[in-house]
């Protein structure tokens, strides 16, 4: 046995785990090797020193402290106890608080149209449709002279376009969520070209409007366009003369915003109005709004003021600025009580209000259906009433 082998066996020897030949061998080696003997003695001394460390006891009361900690409620138990006990006191208080919180939440939700809109999924924008819808038939009894400016700027009417009365109900019911072009004015066309076509178009229109039937006449129709407003049949020249001689409406609230349009260079009424319509057609609504405001401000006696209010409201609606659209429709209704555009303005204001979650829109729709049963908006109003105001 070598010295290394002997020292490898020290641990087993110390634990008395050796017996038989291994024990004899190492005993003989230690007897004959002074170095290993000294090493073995040092090993034993060191191990005794370790063993002599011995056991230790914790401080008195250790077990009792452990028991205290065991029996002490946990943090969760303390929290639950604090929340719910005594049950007969805490539970009713919490139930009452819950009801109050729920009620407050409901109130906030109901009074915040923004919240309601945020909660509703945004409908997908429908594909662009023909915006060259002609003016719908003026309901019988609404043969009021056209003050909308249609005489000077008659709507374009192309084949395949239909008046509002023929527009599918579903499309009209989606006014607030519809894309801007769905309620926008007819596509951009030269003012002169429009005027040139006015006479023949309006004659055709008048004939056709005379035959205006139920709104559900055709399944595929244009969106209710800006020009698809009720309009009294008239000749182009007659309309022009009428609008030129139309009385100046009262100052509208919008016109008070004169300062905001001061940057608009002074243009003629026709230029302003045509530019605004072009902007509407091109969906440049900010510019259209600016132009229409300028037009209203600078030409308070123009025959197209009512029409301008309507277009201004439509521009706001196209930008989903319903709260700003509503005053424009209201101004039209208030300042031009005899306008054939009244049902249209009421209908669109109602749609704007519904978009804001304002149930007054339902009452307005009912008003349109009741007071203007022959108007093109009557049928879609009833449709929206049945779908959204139940």
């Amino acid at each position: 046995m070598t010295c290394d082998e002997a020292r490898e066996a020290f641990s087993d020897l110390y634990d008395e785990a050796l017996s038989g030949p291994p024990l004899v061998t190492i005993t003989q080696h230690l007897a004959s090797c002074p170095a290993c003997r000294a090493e073995w003695a040092a090993f034993q001394k060191a191990m005794r020193a370790v063993s002599d460390l011995g056991g230790a006891e914790p401080s008195p009361g250790f077990a009792a402290r452990v028991r205290q900690r065991i029996e002490a409620p946990t943090r969760w138990q303390r929290a639950v106890h604090w929340l719910f006990f005594p049950l007969r006191v805490k539970v009713p208080i919490q139930a009452l608080a819950l009801v109050l919180v729920a009620f407050a939440g409901l109130l906030v939700y109901q009074r915040s149209p923004e919240l309601r809109r945020a909660a509703e999924p945004q409908p997908a924008a429908p594909p662009p449709v023909t915006r060259e819808a002609p003016a719908p038939a003026a309901p019988p009894g609404l043969k009021t002279p056209d003050i909308s400016g249609a005489g000077s700027e008659p709507s374009q009417r192309t084949e395949g376009t239909r008046p509002l009365a023929e527009t599918p109900k579903a499309e009209r019911a989606e006014l607030p969520a519809a894309p801007a072009d769905a309620i926008g004015p007819p596509p951009q066309a030269g003012l002169e070209a429009e005027k040139d076509r006015a006479t023949s178009a309006l004659r055709d229109e008048a004939k056709e409007l005379g035959k205006t039937t139920a709104p559900s006449e055709s399944p595929k129709t244009a969106e209710p366009s800006r020009d698809a407003r009720p309009r009294a049949p008239e000749s182009g020249t007659a309309g022009r003369s009428l609008q030129q001689s139309a009385p100046a409406p009262a100052q509208s609230p919008t016109r008070a915003k004169e300062g905001s349009v001061s940057s608009i260079p002074t243009k003629s009424a026709d230029e302003l109005y045509a530019a605004a319509r072009t902007d509407m057609d091109s969906q440049r609504y900010d510019r259209a709004i600016e132009g229409l405001r300028a037009f209203i401000t600078q030409n308070p006696r123009d025959a197209r003021i009512a029409d301008a209010h309507l277009r201004l409201g439509d521009a706001y609606v196209a930008q989903r600025r319903y709260t700003e659209a509503i005053p424009e429709y209201e101004a039209l209704v208030r300042e031009f009580p005899d306008s054939p555009l009244i049902p249209t303005a009421l209908y669109r204001e109602a749609q704007a209000r519904l978009a804001l979650g304002d149930r007054a829109g339902c009452r307005m729709l009912q008003d349109v259906a009741d007071r203007y049963p022959q108007a093109a908006e009557a049928a879609p109003a009833r449709e929206v009433l049945s779908t959204r105001c139940r």
Partner: protein, 212 residues
């Protein structure tokens, strides 16, 4: 050679089998919610658990806190104790692993604070204990060889062993567990226990020789 006996197995106490039976009854009662029975178990094993914690950590207050944690851990895990092994073995295992985890966490914390900890299991990277300073700064003197001082030196040198070596040395040479009990407690092979213990002892001998 005399070594400390495991709890309840001293000459004046019950034989090991009787202790195990008594432990089993106490465990059953504790599992049924009898905190008093568990307190009895605590009293029976508090010395053993505290000693292991003290020898591993080297600080009484810290060892006592850890011993409390160990018993709380055991109490919370008592429902999972199925009696496949003795309660003592189960408790030793909890204690050993809790000590190792605690030391590992402390080492990581010290390393994070930039105070060393590179050597695994080296509690010696802590600020030197009083005995360290004594040993470092004072020439060896006969007074140091008195029993109390020797105990402090041994404790300090223990702290310089790796955690694994320290643990196995304490379990065998201070707590008096057999190789088999150590193997069960640490979930090691007997051969591993034997070789690891030998290396721990040889290192400790080398460290203590200058003082002996």
């Amino acid at each position: 050679m005399q070594r400390p006996a495991a709890p309840g197995t001293g000459s004046a106490a019950l034989p090991a089998a009787a202790v195990a039976d008594e432990d089993r009854r106490l465990v059953d009662r504790a599992q049924a919610g009898d905190a008093g029975a568990f307190e009895t178990l605590v009293r029976r094993y508090q010395g053993w658990v505290f000693t292991l914690a003290l020898r591993m950590l080297g600080d009484r207050a810290e060892a006592e806190d850890m011993a409390q944690e160990i018993f709380l851990k055991a109490y919370r895990g008592l429902k999972g104790f199925k009696g496949a092994s003795r309660f003592s073995t189960w408790l030793y295992s909890i204690t050993s692993h809790h000590c190792l985890n605690h030391l590992e966490a402390r080492r990581r914390q010290l390393h994070h604070l930039g105070r060393g900890g590179d050597r695994p299991g080296a509690v010696g990277n802590d600020p030197p204990a009083p005995v360290d300073r004594l040993v470092d700064e004072t020439p060896r003197a006969d007074a140091l060889l008195e029993r109390a001082d020797l105990a402090r030196i041994v404790q300090a040198e223990l702290a310089h062993l790796s955690e694994e070596h320290r643990l196995i040395l304490v379990l065998r040479d201070i707590q008096g567990l057999s190789y088999e009990e150590i193997a069960q407690t640490l979930r090691l092979e007997l051969g591993t226990v034997r070789s690891r213990l030998h290396r721990a002892r040889m290192e400790m001998r080398a460290r203590l020789t200058p003082y002996l």
